[in-house]
C-alpha cells in the first residue's frame, strides 16, 4: 500500500500548479476580466434595470458570457458569502469551486444557489439568442438567426439589421434577409409588409410557407397584402414541389444504386453464366458479417461460439480516425470473403449442374438454408450492430434538398463498381475468356480456354460483388441472418427487367426500379409502394419477357 505522505506530496504541487495556471490564464485576458466584472454586476444587482443589463451582455458576443448565463439558468451558479461579508459568485467545474471574478479555485464557506425568476430567465434567453447571432461559427449563427426570425419578435429587428451591415458569409446573409423579412411581416406599414411578402416569395422560403398561408386568410391584412401573399405562397409551393421531387429523385437514385450494387453480382452469375444462385443473398450476408468482424477487430475484439467451441478474436482497440477507417479495409475483405465462399460453392456444387439450371436453383437454395443457419449459430439469431464510420453519417444540404453522406457514397460506389466490372469484362484477357465461355462453352474449350477455371473465377467475381453489396448494406440497414432474403427477389427482378446478360440493362433497370419504388412510397405507404412496384414488374415481364434490352439471338432455346 502506498504511504499517504507520498500521495499528498504528489498532489499538493499539482494542485498548486493548476491553480497558478488558472490564475495566469485569467490574468492574460483583460477583455475577459471586463466581461467577468460586467457579468457579476448584472447578476448581483437585483434592481429594475437588471434585465436590461443581462440583455446588454449580448452585445459582448462572448462565449464566456453565454456559458455563465447558461449555468445561471440551469441553477449551476452559486453565491458564497465570505466571513467579511464579501459576496463571491462561483461555479463548480469537475467538483472544484471556481470563482467567477478571477477564475481561480477556492473553497466556499456558505454556498447558496443563485435563483432565477421567470423574468430573468426570459432575459437570459434573449441574451443567449443574441450572443448566438454573433457567434463566430457560421452554422450556429445561421441557425440562431433563423430561430430569431421565426419568433417574429420585432424587438430583435435592429440587432439583425445591424448584423446585416457587418455580415460577410453568404449563407448567413441569406438567413438574415429571410429573418428580417419575416419580422417585417409584422410591420404596421402595409408597404413594408407587402415588400417583405414579395421578398419571401422571391427567396422561395420554405419555412415561411405556413406563415404566408395564414396571411392569405388573415382578417388583419389588407387585400393588397393578401393578394401578394397568395402569389408568394404559389411561388413557394411550386418550389417546394420541385424540392420534394428532387429529393425523391435523389432517394430513388440512391435506392437504385443499392439495388444495383446488390444485383450486379447476380447479373454476372445469372446473367452471364446462367446459374440461378438462390444463395446470392447469403453471399451478401457473408460480406455484411465480414464488415461486422472487421469493425470488431478494429475495436474491442469479438468472441463467437460455434458448435460449442468458443472463438475469441482479439481486437486492436483502435480509436478515432484509425477506427473510423475500418470500413475502408472492410470493403476488400468482404469482397474476398464472399468470393472465396462463392468459389467453394462453385467447386462443390454448381459445377455439376451447369446443364441443369432448374436443379442448380434448388441446390443453391439448400445451400442458402445451410448458410443462414450457420450465421444464426455463429453470430446469433438477432441482428448485429454495425456502426457507420463518422465520415458516412451526416448530410449536406443543396438548395433545400438533404443529401445524406451514405446515400451519396452509395451512388459513387455503384458507379465505381459498374465501371470496374465493365473494364474487367471488356479490357482484360480474363474478361475476354469470360465472354467467350459464356457465349459458347464448348467452342471456347476447343480453342484452349480453360473453361473450368474461367467458370470458377467468374462465379467468384460475381459472389465477391455480392459481398461488396453486403458490406454496403451493413451501413444502411440491419445485419442479420435473414439479410439476403429481403433482397433476393428484388435483385432477380432487377436483372430480369434489365435483360439477362446485359450490364447496361441492369444499371437502367436498377435506377428505374429504385426511382419508381421511392416515388410510389412517397405517394402511398412503404409496403404498398413495394407491392405496387413488384406487381408492375411482374406485369411488365409478362408483357416483355426479354426485359428492357432483350438479347437478340437466333437460337431457338435462347
Amino acid at each position: 500500500m502506498m504511504r499517504p505522505v507520498n500521495f499528498l506530496t504528489c498532489l499538493l504541487p499539482a494542485l498548486l500548479l493548476w491553480t497558478g495556471f488558472m490564475t495566469l490564464a485569467a490574468a492574460q485576458d483583460p477583455a475577459g476580466d471586463a466581461i467577468r466584472q460586467q457579468l457579476i454586476e448584472a447578476i448581483l444587482n437585483e434592481d429594475e434595470e437588471q434585465t436590461d443589463r443581462i440583455e446588454a451582455m449580448a452585445e459582448t458576443g462572448s462565449d464566456l458570457a453565454a456559458k455563465v448565463l447558461t449555468q445561471w439558468r440551469a441553477g449551476e451558479l452559486f453565491l458564497d458569502t465570505a466571513a467579511d461579508g464579501q459576496k463571491i459568485l462561483f461555479t463548480r467545474e469537475g467538483g472544484q469551486a471556481v470563482r467567477l471574478d478571477t477564475a481561480a479555485a477556492f473553497t466556499p464557506v456558505a454556498p447558496k444557489e443563485m435563483e432565477t425568476s421567470s423574468k430573468i430567465r426570459r432575459a437570459i434567453r434573449n441574451a443567449l439568442d443574441l450572443i448566438a447571432v454573433a457567434s463566430p461559427d457560421a452554422k450556429l449563427r445561421t441557425a440562431a438567426i433563423s430561430k430569431l426570425g421565426m419568433t417574429q419578435n420585432t424587438d430583435y429587428l435592429p440587432v439583425l439589421v445591424a448584423r446585416q451591415t457587418r455580415e460577410t458569409d453568404k449563407d448567413v446573409r441569406k438567413a438574415l434577409e429571410e429573418a428580417i423579412a419575416v419580422m417585417q411581416l409584422m410591420d404596421e406599414d402595409d408597404a413594408v409588409c407587402i415588400a417583405a411578402v414579395k421578398k419571401l416569395g422571391e427567396m422561395r422560403s420554405l419555412p415561411c410557407l405556413d406563415l404566408l398561408r395564414a396571411m392569405t386568410t388573415s382578417e388583419e391584412e389588407s387585400d393588397e397584402a393578401k393578394a401578394e401573399a397568395k402569389k408568394s405562397v404559389a411561388l413557394i409551393e411550386a418550389y417546394s414541389k420541385k424540392v420534394e421531387m428532387a429529393g425523391t429523385v435523389f432517394r430513388g437514385i440512391s435506392a437504385g444504386s443499392v439495388l444495383l450494387v446488390v444485383a450486379l453480382g447476380l447479373a454476372i452469375t445469372f446473367g452471364l453464366m446462367g446459374v440461378i444462385n438462390m444463395a446470392h443473398g447469403e453471399m451478401m450476408a457473408v460480406g455484411a458479417y465480414t464488415t461486422y468482424m472487421i469493425q470488431n477487430i478494429f475495436g474491442a475484439g469479438l468472441s463467437l461460439s460455434m458448435f460449442g467451441l468458443g472463438l475469441n478474436i482479439p481486437g486492436m482497440n483502435l480509436t478515432g480516425a484509425a477506427y473510423q477507417s475500418y470500413f475502408v479495409w472492410a470493403i476488400p475483405a468482404s469482397f474476398l470473403m464472399a468470393a472465396l465462399v462463392g468459389i467453394g460453392l462453385e467447386r462443390g456444387v454448381i459445377r455439376f449442374l451447369y446443364k441443369r439450371p432448374l436443379e442448380s436453383l434448388l441446390a443453391t437454395w439448400g445451400i442458402s438454408l445451410i448458410l443462414q443457419q450457420l450465421f444464426r449459430l455463429v453470430f446469433g439469431p438477432n441482428n448485429v450492430q454495425v456502426s457507420s464510420p463518422s465520415w458516412l453519417s451526416g448530410s449536406f444540404v443543396v438548395n433545400d434538398v438533404v443529401l445524406g453522406y451514405n446515400r451519396v457514397f452509395v451512388i459513387g460506389f455503384a458507379i465505381a463498381i459498374v465501371l470496374l466490372t465493365w473494364l474487367l469484362l471488356t479490357k482484360t484477357s480474363l474478361g475476354l475468356f469470360i465472354r467467350a465461355v459464356m457465349q459458347n462453352r464448348l467452342m471456347a474449350s476447343c480453342m484452349g480456354v480453360r473453361t473450368e477455371r474461367v467458370n470458377m473465377l467468374t462465379f467468384g467475381f460475381g459472389s465477391g460483388l455480392a459481398g461488396l453489396g453486403g458490406a454496403f448494406l451493413s451501413q444502411l440497414g440491419n445485419v442479420g441472418p435473414n439479410l439476403g432474403q429481403s433482397y433476393i427477389v428484388d435483385s432477380f427482378m432487377t436483372v430480369v427487367v434489365g435483360g439477362v446478360g446485359n450490364l447496361i440493362g441492369t444499371v437502367c433497370s436498377a435506377i428505374g426500379i429504385g426511382t419508381v419504388d421511392q416515388t410510389l412510397q412517397s405517394v402511398t405507404d412503404p409496403s404498398m409502394g413495394k407491392i405496387i412496384t413488384l406487381s408492375s414488374i411482374i406485369l411488365f415481364l409478362l408483357w416483355r419477357p426479354g426485359g428492357l434490352f432483350p438479347t437478340r439471338t437466333r437460337s431457338l432455346e435462347g
Partner: protein
C-alpha cells in the same frame, strides 16, 4: 416397376384409409393397436402436404414447369375456407362474449377497427360458396397469370423467378392489415365446421379421411391423365417443347390447363389443411414454403407417381423429429438433404431401387460411374 407400384398404391390406400382410422376409433388407448388423435391429426397434415407435393410433381416432374407459387394457391384455398370458418365462430368469439361485437364480426376485425363486414366477406357465410371459392380463386389467379406467362413463352428459370415474385408480392399484400385478411396473424381460432366441433376427435378423424380420399382421387387422376394422349403430349412438352410446338400442338393451352389444374389441387389441399391445423397466415405463402414443397418432390423422386407422397411424408416426419431433437440443425439437415438429393439421387426415394440396381451393375462391370442415370432434362 409397374407391378410393385400398383401393389404399394393399394396397400398404402388400405393402410391410410381404413386401418389407421379404425385403430384410432376402436383401438384401446395405450395398447399397441391404438393410434392417438394426435397422430391422426399429424398424418392429416402430412397428407395435405402430400397432395400439394403431387400437384408440384405434376407441374415440375411431368410438365417441366418449376412453379414457386404452389404455396400461394395452397394458401388461397386455405384462406377461402378459413373465411367461412371465421364467420362461423359467431357467438363463441372473445369480443362477442365481452359484449364488444354486436355485429358478429371476426375478432381480428373488431381489433383492427373495421366498422362492418367488408362486402367480399359476406357470401362466405355460405359453406358451399366457400367450397366453390376454394377451387375458383386459385384457379382464376393461376389462369390469369398462366395465360399471360405462357402467351409470352416464358419458360424454364424465368417462369420460376416470376412465380417466386408473384408469391412474394402476394404475401406482402396479405401481411397488410387493411387487406381485410387479418394481416400478420391471419385467420385462426376456428370453432365449428358445418356445426361440428373442430376439436372433437371424430370430426378430426373425418377430416383425415377426407384428406386421404382426396389424395387417392388426385393420384388416380394423375395416373389416368398420364396414360392418355394428353399425358403423352404433356411429357413431350417437358422434354422438347419446340418440337411439340412445330408438330402442330398448342403447347400454351396444354401448359395452361395443367397449371390451372395444379393450382386447384393445391387450393383443395390448403382447404383441408386449414381446419386440421387451425390457422392460416401469410407466412404459409412465402417462397420458402413453395421451395420446401419442391424439396419433398425432389427427395421423394420427381416424375414418379408416388415419389412426392413419400417425400412429403418423409421430410415432414423428419422435420417433426429434428425440430424437437436438434432445433439448431434442422435447416442444415434440410438444406443438406436437398443438395444431396439434387446431386446424387436425381430420382429420389422412389428411384432408389433402380439406382441400387444400377450401382450393382456398375460394380459388376467396374466401368465408368453410373450414379447419374439418364437425368431428364429440366
Amino acid at each position: 416397376m409397374r407391378k410393385p407400384e400398383n401393389l404399394i398404391m393399394i396397400l398404402g390406400a388400405l393402410l391410410l384409409l381404413v386401418i389407421l382410422p379404425c385403430l384410432n376409433a376402436f383401438g384401446t388407448p395405450g395398447s399397441l393397436f391404438h393410434v392417438s388423435d394426435y397422430t391422426i391429426n399429424l398424418w392429416g397434415k402430412y397428407l395435405c402436404y402430400a397432395i400439394l407435393a403431387v400437384s408440384v410433381n405434376l407441374l415440375w416432374g411431368y410438365t417441366g414447369l418449376l412453379s414457386l407459387g404452389q404455396c400461394l394457391f395452397f394458401s388461397l384455398g386455405g384462406y377461402a375456407l378459413g373465411m367461412h370458418l371465421m364467420l362461423m365462430i359467431g357467438e363463441q368469439g372473445q369480443y362477442f362474449k365481452s359484449g364488444n361485437n354486436p355485429l358478429l364480426l371476426p375478432d381480428f376485425m373488431v381489433f383492427m377497427g373495421f366498422p362492418e363486414l367488408p362486402a367480399h366477406w359476406i357470401p362466405f357465410r355460405s359453406f358451399w360458396f366457400s367450397v366453390l371459392m376454394v377451387f375458383v380463386v386459385p384457379g382464376t389467379v393461376a389462369f390469369l397469370f398462366g395465360w399471360l406467362a405462357f402467351r409470352s413463352r416464358i419458360k424454364g428459370v424465368y417462369f420460376s423467378i416470376l412465380t417466386q415474385a408473384l408469391t412474394y408480392a402476394a404475401s406482402l399484400l396479405f401481411f397488410q392489415n387493411k387487406f381485410t385478411f387479418g394481416g400478420n396473424n391471419g385467420l385462426t381460432d376456428f370453432k365449428t365446421l358445418l356445426g361440428a366441433d373442430l376439436n372433437a376427435a371424430d370430426v378430426r378423424r373425418n377430416l383425415y379421411i377426407a384428406t386421404v380420399i382426396l389424395l387417392i382421387a388426385v393420384v388416380a387422376l394423375v395416373k389416368w391423365l398420364l396414360g392418355t394422349k394428353f399425358g403423352k403430349v404433356q411429357k413431350a412438352v417437358r422434354d422438347s417443347e419446340n418440337r411439340v410446338l412445330f408438330s402442330g400442338y398448342a403447347t400454351t393451352s396444354f401448359k395452361l390447363f395443367i397449371f390451372v389444374l395444379c393450382a386447384i389441387i393445391a387450393g383443395a389441399a390448403g382447404a383441408l389443411y386449414v381446419p386440421q391445423v387451425g390457422i392460416i397466415n401469410p407466412s404459409e405463402m412465402t417462397t420458402d414454403k413453395s421451395l420446401e414443397a419442391v424439396v419433398w418432390v425432389a427427395v421423394g423422386g420427381r416424375a414418379t407417381l408416388l415419389g412426392p407422397i413419400y417425400g412429403a411424408i418423409f421430410v415432414n416426419a423428419l422435420k417433426s423429429w429434428a425440430t424437437t431433437a436438434y432445433p439448431d440443425y434442422w435447416y442444415i439437415i434440410l438444406g443438406g438433404l436437398f443438395v444431396l438429393a439434387v446431386l446424387f439421387a436425381p430420382n429420389g426415394i422412389a428411384g432408389f431401387p433402380q439406382q441400387i440396381r444400377d450401382v450393382a451393375a456398375w460394380w459388376k462391370r467396374r466401368q465408368a460411374p453410373a450414379i447419374e442415370p439418364d437425368a431428364t432434362p429440366a
